[in-house]
């Protein structure tokens, strides 16, 4: 059909605001064949009341067409740099091969969370009835998928040279310490859409993400890992969009109805504590795993939570929101968290997919300076004893599985808020069964929703139930070794991926290929 020729001038280009409205709100409609409550069946059961979805403001006013353009440009730059990194054998420019263990932790513990976030935001995007909120969630879902991919692509180059990087998704679903990030995210995804977005967009992306991304990316830069720095930069503009979205989400929910305030406060309490427990892994990465340290965990906590987080919650006070419960416990723990965590991985290094080691004397000096009230008195004797044992050929390891917290799933190594020499035990009885927790924070979370957490897949208990063997395994066969079989089930290359760093395959290869010592001087 021929288009009619009109003598008029072409219509003026739409303003950015009109364009945004047409490409977001303009895409939605009120359903008539089906009740809206049936179409959006999940956005009321949590008790959150939304009166006017049009009050949702996307601070970036980003539409899908612009989104693809920006992201495409970033991809081109990233992959050009990754190519150059590979062609120049950039993997040998890091401080020493101990550094690679931070990448192992990142690829197995953090990158799968990016993928989980992709899934979570896709679900939220389906379940909100406000169109702009759905589109913001859709974009974040695509961002998260991109992050999972760029991280896998970048780090896959290291997989050609170092152990423990060969199958992060398989490990994520099985390995004992990876159940900590996995259960964290599954807790959020199995909640309703409002709790999910409060947990991930606000409590994690807005409040705590600086304590995850900053240490890994600055740590990479300090230690010569340009590949990781590059995917960090490529994700950074997305992260700032996610953070801003997180703050908008919480303000929007709080402004919609006063009844929302106590619900949101409860979520902030819960997700602050769950996120903080997850960051335990980052604390030991900063203080022990980076050969060149950026700052101590205690300094990072002071800067990014106590100061920045404190200012944020002051700002939210006008909505009736206070600081998350037990933030003062986190501050009390800041001088011991990383030491307790690293000692735990040293105990169970034979069952991990990354290496551990005793810090060098120069590092112990740094630790003593950063932690003057705790390191020399409480932790140095442990490390010195382990070093002596190792020199005698009796490298310490713990042959028994640890007790785990029912909620955060971290081994119960945390100590009493006011006594760093006493393990913190909390317990409760529910439906005639005992449950144990590492803290009041985790106990409260269980107490609010016990029916959820009685279902926790605790790795230690699962091993004892016989659920962590490969199909066809006969645990009654003569000479059956449960631990060896569990490591096979995890997909580890036993004897290569974990254990002591000194003398490991990674350490030996490093020296052979680079001519540099396994531990940089």
């Amino acid at each position: 059909m021929n288009m009619p020729i009109t003598p008029q001038k072409p219509a003026k280009k739409l303003s950015l605001k009109d364009n945004y409205n047409l490409l977001t709100r303009g895409l939605g409609w009120e359903t008539s064949y089906q009740d809206m409550d049936k179409v959006f069946a999940q956005d009321k059961f949590e008790g959150i009341k939304i009166h006017d979805w049009d009050k949702w403001e996307d601070p970036f006013r980003l539409t899908m067409d612009a989104y693809w353009k920006y992201q495409g440009e970033k991809e081109k730059k990233l992959y050009a740099i990754v190519d150059a990194f590979q062609q120049n054998n950039g993997q040998f420019n890091v401080t020493d091969a101990r550094y690679i263990n931070t990448l192992k932790l990142f690829l197995t513990g953090v990158s799968p969370l990016e993928y989980q976030a992709h899934r979570g935001f896709a679900m939220v995007g389906r379940n909100f009835r406000g169109t702009s909120a759905r589109i913001a969630a859709q974009m974040q879902a695509i961002d998260e998928l991109r992050h999972a991919q760029t991280q896998a692509h970048t780090i896959s180059h290291y997989n050609k040279f170092f152990s423990g990087l060969h199958d992060p998704t398989h490990m994520f679903d099985r390995v004992w310490y990876l159940s900590v990030p996995k259960s964290y995210f599954e807790d959020a995804m199995s909640a309703g859409p409002f709790e999910f977005i409060t947990a991930i967009s606000f409590s994690f992306e807005y409040v705590l993400t600086n304590l995850l991304f900053m240490p890994f990316m600055s740590g990479a830069a300090y230690n010569g890992d340009m590949a990781t720095v590059t995917f960090g930069f490529s994700a950074q503009s997305d992260e700032s969009r996610h953070m801003t979205l997180g703050l908008e989400v919480v303000k929007f929910i709080l402004e919609q109805d006063p009844d929302n305030v106590p619900i949101v406060q409860k979520w902030l309490d819960k997700w602050f504590w769950r996120g903080y427990r997850l960051l335990t892994l980052v604390s030991m990465m900063m203080d022990y795993m980076l050969p060149k340290k950026v700052m101590s965990w205690a300094e990072a906590w002071e800067m990014y939570f106590e100061q920045n987080g404190g200012a944020l919650f002051n700002d939210l006070a006008r909505y009736g929101i206070r600081m998350p419960k037990y933030h003062e416990v986190a501050s009390k723990e800041k001088h011991r968290l990383s030491h307790e965590a690293w000692a735990t991985f040293y105990n169970f290094s034979h069952a991990a997919a990354f290496h551990t080691w005793v810090p060098e004397e120069s590092e112990m000096k740094w630790l003593a300076e950063k932690y003057p009230t705790t390191f020399d008195s409480l932790y140095r004797p442990r490390f010195e004893h382990w070093r002596e044992q190792q020199q005698k050929g009796e490298r310490f390891s713990n042959g028994t599985l640890p007790m785990l917290c029912q909620v955060c799933q971290v081994p119960m190594f945390f100590t009493e808020p006011d006594d760093p020499t006493k393990i913190c035990f909390r317990e409760t009885t529910y439906r005639d069964e005992k449950f144990h927790f590492c803290s009041d924070g985790c106990k409260d979370i269980f107490g609010n929703e016990p029916e959820k957490y009685v279902q926790a897949w605790l790795p230690v208990h699962q091993i004892y139930q016989g659920n962590c063997f490969r199909p066809g395994t006969d645990p009654t066969a003569p000479g059956f070794e449960p631990l060896a079989e569990v490591l096979q089930y995890y997909g580890f290359h036993v004897g290569e991926d974990g254990g002591e760093y000194l003398g490991s395959l990674d350490a030996r290869n490093w020296t052979q290929w680079t001519g540099k010592p396994a531990v940089a001087e």
Partner: protein, 120 residues
């Protein structure tokens, strides 16, 4: 409310019921002031085990590498069940001593405070 769920009356599967442990139960054991072994242990054990077996063989086998293990004087050890001080009967079973599935048992060894007194 015991869970915020789409369906009213939702309940969860109790994942760690004692029946799932092939005739055993779980027992958690922690040694006070000795954090070189970083966290309390979790072991599967028959509830009919006499408490004395813990002292004789089970507990020493959990801490083989600690220099204090050989120095423990079992006559002076203080026992705690879920944090409460108690006096176990070594002849009686774990269950008769009030240590059922997922019981939390801690012990303190007076005079022994870990590597260089650091509670390690």
């Amino acid at each position: 409310m015991s869970v915020i769920a789409l369906k009213p009356g939702y309940t969860g599967e109790m994942k760690d019921r004692v029946e799932n442990f092939h005739g055993k139960q779980l027992l958690y054991i922690g040694w006070e002031d000795h954090l070189m072994y970083c966290a309390p242990m979790c072991i599967p054990i028959e509830g009919s085990t006499p408490f004395g077996a813990l002292i004789q063989s089970v507990i020493p086998s959990l801490y083989p590498a600690h220099p204090d293990t050989a120095k423990i004087d079992w006559n002076t050890v203080e026992w705690f069940r879920s944090g409460e001080r108690f006096t176990p009967d070594p002849q009686q079973t774990l269950i008769a001593n009030g240590l059922g599935h997922k019981a939390n048992l801690r012990f303190r060894t007076p005079g022994l405070t870990g590597l260089k007194g650091s509670c390690s």
